[in-house]
């Protein structure tokens, strides 16, 4: 079965003053894949995914998601189309319970206008999501009291609560212990069964283990793209980023 | 009187207003620039300066100039001490949180204003001008003191500029404004700089008030208009920019004076407040937005 294109960009460009952070990027992402986005700091990875999620506006170019041109849609409307984004720096509702955090995500999906879903259905759906990331037993705790690793999981849970078609994870394993990273890898694999995952990641072990394909960015442009083995073998990439 | 002389008179009145406004607004601008806080009680420091000036001149006998000179020294000093105390007792404990600071300085506004009401009373009281001569134009005579106010204000602003650009204290203030964390790392006593800047800001308002009391009587509610006008000046002029503040003060002060003579002063104020609102709305990142509040 030929994979369907979920997301593509054409000539996507973002300039900040004199600096071009993202420079005419042509990018394609197939439905169902796990794609890793790698590159040195300042390569424009976070700016690029921010353009995809709509957090910032492009200076030029287009973003097409599931056949629809979403370039002019604001971020919240893109979320409703199925693009979920988890922040690089953990961003949760620290003073609310875990359940409330996830409820807000689930509620958005179930809302019609400002009418929220039935409380019981909402709770059940939110608990199911917490269970999926393994935080169900802490549901009534305050999110701000969680360990850093668990906060990152909660972020992912909020993303999952939206039931996205595309989940963008911005450096999800940064600051996690090895054991936590192993759990995370399993979780992402499980998520990828019904969503496409785009992952910015510095940990090459995680990248090699998870990614179906890898995109390498440098200075706002795509330097190389291909399956992990090919990227690993690419001498130029290796010299520059894989410490080889 | 013909239109020409009338315009000249309006411009002179505008220039006197602009001179005092520039000093007062400079204080507000300095506090915002260095400390990144909005001092809503700024107008009350101005009022306090005027009331203390009345109090000092009424205690010192002899020639009016004696009392006035004493007021020029004593009034800013007392106001500065009061401001430093408020900074230490209230603002520092709030960690200069922008929103909490505004609420606290609103409280301070009422405290100072009502203290003045309960001690000084609700009357407006005049202060004699230190010099008494008139400059005779072909069409009208004009108060020599008012012309001196313009000169005095210019000299004081020049002094502030020299302090900021040519002294160690000024360097510390600019470093703190640029980046408090780095300033701390370079052993700049940021806490003391903050207290000092807050005091200096209030003292500039007090100086403006001392200059104005021989023209406008001291009253416990007199801080309202200078506060509003200073806000307008600081926002239009660009925050923390000395040159912008002075320029905006001259433009706003002059046009306030001139428009008020020819049109309704209320209409002038409506337009000015709306102008400020729209500047902030259309340039939200330009002025206060440099740091997310």
């Amino acid at each position: 079965m030929a994979a369907m294109t979920l997301l593509e960009t054409h000539g996507l460009t973002r300039r900040f003053g004199g600096l071009t952070a993202v420079d005419g990027v042509e990018f394609r992402l197939d439905e169902g894949e796990i794609r890793a986005l790698i590159g040195p700091n300042g390569a424009g990875k976070t700016t690029f995914v921010s353009l995809l999620s709509g957090r910032i506006r492009p200076s030029a170019g287009r973003v097409v998601f599931a056949g629809e041109d979403v370039t002019r849609l604001p971020a919240h409307a893109r979320v409703m189309r199925g693009i979920a984004y988890t922040f690089q720096i953990t961003s949760i509702f620290a003073r609310m319970t875990l359940l409330d955090n996830v409820r807000l995500a689930v509620q958005r999906r179930m809302m019609r206008g400002w009418r929220g879903p039935d409380a019981r259905a909402l709770d059940a759906a939110a608990m199911a999501v917490l269970d999926r990331v393994g935080l169900a037993d802490r549901a009534t705790g305050i999110a701000g009291n969680l360990s850093y690793g668990h906060q990152r999981l909660l972020e992912v849970a909020m993303g999952l609560g939206l039931r996205p078609r595309l989940l963008i994870l911005d450096e999800p394993t940064q600051g996690l212990s090895d054991a936590e990273i192993a759990g995370f890898v399993d979780l992402v694999r499980e998520i990828a069964r019904d969503a496409t995952v785009l992952l910015i990641e510095h940990n090459m072990g995680v990248v090699m283990e998870l990614a179906h394909r890898i995109t390498v960015m440098e200075m706002g442009q795509i330097l190389a793209e291909g399956p992990p083995e090919a990227i690993r073998a690419d001498a130029e990439v290796q010299r520059a980023y894989l410490g080889g | 009187m013909d239109f020409g002389p009338y315009l000249l008179l309006a411009s002179l009145e505008g220039a006197v207003g602009a001179a005092v406004l520039a000093l007062t607004a400079l204080g507000l601008s300095l506090v915002f620039g260095v400390m990144r806080i909005v001092n809503v009680a700024h107008g009350e420091f101005y009022m306090l300066g005027a009331v203390i000036a009345w109090w000092v001149t009424s205690m010192v006998g002899g020639h009016p100039a004696l009392g006035f000179v004493a007021a020029m020294v004593v009034s800013p000093l007392i106001v500065g001490i009061a401001a430093a105390a408020a900074e230490r007792l209230v603002l520092r404990r709030l960690d200069y949180d922008p929103e909490a600071t505004i609420v606290a300085t609103i409280g301070l506004l009422y405290v100072i204003q009502q203290l003045a009401l309960s001690t000084y009373g609700a009357d407006a009281r005049p202060v004699a001008a230190p010099i008494d001569f008139r400059v005779q134009f072909p069409w009208f005579g004009y108060s020599g003191y008012k012309l001196c106010v313009i000169g005095a204000s210019a000299v004081m602003m020049l002094a502030v500029w020299l302090v900021l650009t040519h002294t160690r204290v000024g360097l510390m203030m600019r470093a703190t404004q640029h980046d408090p964390e780095t300033a701390r790392a370079f052993a700049i006593p940021v806490d003391r700089v903050y207290a000092g800047v807050f005091a200096i800001g209030a003292m500039l308002a007090a100086l403006g008030a001392v200059l104005i009391v021989p023209i406008q009587q001291a009253h416990y509610l007199m801080g309202h208009d200078p506060l509003l006008l200073s806000f307008i000046v600081v926002i239009i002029g660009g925050l923390g920019s000395l040159r912008g503040t002075v320029l905006a003060a001259v433009i706003i002060g002059m046009s306030d004076g001139i428009i008020s003579v020819f049109f309704s002063p209320t209409l002038a104020k409506i337009l000015a407040t709306l102008l400020v609102a729209f500047v902030l709305v259309w340039r939200p990142a330009g002025l206060f937005g440099a740091r997310p509040a």
Partner: protein
Amino acid sequence: MSRAVGLHIAVLAGLALAQFTLPEYHHGNLARIMVLAAFASAYNITFGYAGMLSLGHAMFFGAGLYAAGLAAEFGGIAAPGGLVLGVIAGALMAAVVGVLALRTTGVSFMIVTLMFAQAAFLTVLYFGEWTRGDEGFVIASDMRRVLGLDLADPATRYWAAFAVFGAVMLGSLAVARSSFGRVLAAIRENEERTRMLGYDVFRAKLMALAVSGAMAGAAGAAYALLFGYVGATFASIQYSILPLLWVLTGGAATVLGPFLGTLLMFYLIDVSSSFTTAHMMIVGFALIGLILFFPKGILGTLRERVVPWLP
């Protein structure tokens, strides 16, 4: 019925009963306090629940006050129509100001709302020919009648104030417990995260402001019609600061906090004004004291320590 709803019904029942038991002086005060508490509750929607610190709510209260007052004075529109006009005026003004002011946040939002309110206040003075500015005007007694009842009569006035306050309070409770209210709280806690959960943050804030404006407009119109006087003081900066003080005192983002705060501050100022003219000093010290030592207010602190279910 949950205990939260029960508690609020009980408070309303207590206020209804107070009508028959209070001495005359306090009876009159309580009617005034209920109308002002409706204003405070309106402020609490934006400041408490949505976390937007406005310094311009006097313009929404004033919009309702003048809508009802001018309609009675020049349009011959009596009390019920005046109240409806007040609600519309408050909501409309909040929507227009919101579209502009909500482009800003934090300190800029405070200054922008302050400036708009100041412009509105000055506009009242500018059109002094109709509004009679600071001096104000008295609403004719035949305009202050509902269903044949005279609003100047203390008992009728009390019930009318009770009805307005009850409606606003139950409205606040409904907002606090709704999914809309949860979204507002989310915006208050973390705006960017809320946006990235797919919520239209601008629209939610605009709606909160419009609801708040409608409630403040209702309070303003009720104030004009119940007490029969319309003046520019009620549109001045002081009436933007007072609701902030009341809400801070009682507890932001609690449904009953605005009433409690208004009640306490009203009597504190009332008592102090019997021995000093500088009674606004209380307001100053209260603001500083609250923000320094007690930022969550009475009910906010209580909720944190004792009754977590308090809405």
